[in-house]
């Protein structure tokens, strides 16, 4: 499934400090272009729906578990496309609804390679940051690969919500991304932190 229009809002769902990403000049034009696309095609969802591609509390998203829109590159064995980043168990890649009235949908997004603190210090973000290919696409039943950059935990992807169905365990950070096989590709619905 490749449904979903770019979101009106992206937010770091876990809160924390506010960072201003310091993007390279090359990336900046891509950001401007995708933002223009966001303004042009706002979704007709209920007013209480928001979108998140970031459910990772690691500082500067340095150590996150990523699921990606596209398969990995076979030359680098890494995944580069837009991703949904987390470092906790996610019962449903669809998203969640705290009270039935508001909804948070999980989506793929691009992530910066560097962050600039409010006081001007620069910090490296995630290695091989997720780019904007697939930015705004819903994460559920839509991932082709996984890339775990968390050295403390392995993660397991499941074909169905609530850790049901088929599974694939992605080990602690070992430097390679892995494609989801034909039974799991575009069928991801939950993931568990181990």
């Amino acid at each position: 499934m490749r449904d979903g229009t770019p979101p009106a809002l992206q937010q770091k769902e876990t809160g924390g400090y506010t960072l201003r990403p310091a993007r390279s000049v090359a990336a900046l034009s891509a950001v401007v272009a995708s933002f223009a696309a966001v303004l042009a095609t706002a979704p007709s969802a209920s007013a209480a729906t928001s979108y998140a591609s970031d459910a990772c509390s690691s500082a500067y998203n340095r150590a996150c578990f990523r699921i990606h829109f596209n398969s990995r590159s076979e030359t680098t064995q890494l995944s580069q496309s837009a991703c949904f980043a987390s470092n906790k168990s996610i019962k449903d890649h669809w998203g969640y609804s705290p009270n039935g009235a508001s909804i948070v949908r999980y989506i793929f997004g691009g992530f910066p390679g560097y962050y600039t603190d409010p006081d001007g210090d620069t910090h490296k973000g995630m290695s091989n940051p997720c780019d904007d290919t697939g930015n705004g696409q819903y994460a559920t039943d839509n991932a082709a690969s996984a890339y775990n950059q968390d050295p403390s935990h392995s993660y397991t992807v499941y074909s169905n919500a609530g850790y049901s169905g088929s599974k694939k365990t992605i080990p602690k950070y070992d430097g390679i991304a892995r494609n989801l096989g034909s039974g799991l590709k575009n069928k991801n619905s939950s993931s568990k932190r181990n």
Binding site: S159, S166, K168
Partner: protein, 306 residues
Amino acid sequence: MTKKWMRSAALAASCSALALTAACGTQHAQGQQTVKTKTEAGSLPDATSRAKWPTAQVESGLAAGMRLPLEDYMVSYPDEVDVENAKDKVKTACMARLGFTFAPPASGTTPALSYDGMNMERRYGITDAKTAQTYGYQVPAAAQEPADDTAAEEAKEGRTDNWYEALENTCIPEANKKVGILYETDIAGDLAAESLEVTKTNLKVQAALSNWSACMARKSYTKFPEPLQAGESFAQSTGTQASQTEIDTAVADVDCKESSGLVKSWFSAETSRQTQQIGDHKAELDAEKARNTKMIETARAILGQN
């Protein structure tokens, strides 16, 4: 780190081979007979942790005792734990050598949901009436993960850009070289996922699915055409406690699975399918298993060293 006690080294080596013996897990400080169970990174899984590990076959519910053919080619949870802990041991020593602290939580110390990549307990959705009655579609409290400890851990390790550079450029490659890469290929897992997907269209499975749906409808749960989707709406809630509605639905779900024979039908269809897959992919499955076996042996040797 010197090998101080020959006897404890031998015990540690045989313990890592056995992996499940209670004596292997705990630290006995009896004069000179201390069994060294701490890696530089932290404690390896002790007897208490090991006692909570999933068993090789599901113990209760409709999937009890079921084992599918491709499981012969899968890495078991205890083996996966040993490989990860051996790699962590290498990474920890490497980072220390470079002047950094690396202290990941040991694998095997947090609850696991299944014994291997087949996910038998929840492969066809929930299958245990007892669990459904208490937890609905939620995993048991014991299997829920602890609160977010990321900030504390990152602070403890003093993570900087240089820390990550050392890990990524030197220590992860070192561990990959010395132990191996876990699930570098996962032919068994990929085939198993394919098997579950493909057998949905099996005639007997389709018949059982219809019966399950009809049964759920008779109990007034008409919204779920597929058992694996039954828990979905509940998975979108943020509470950890199941509502009464969720529990009622889950109990009905398992009850209907029993009366429709869905689990048995699907298991039977998958057994046939996976037998065929094994025949079609024998050489690569055997090669993958041989690589895994070698990696696990290497891991155990590393864990056995003091």
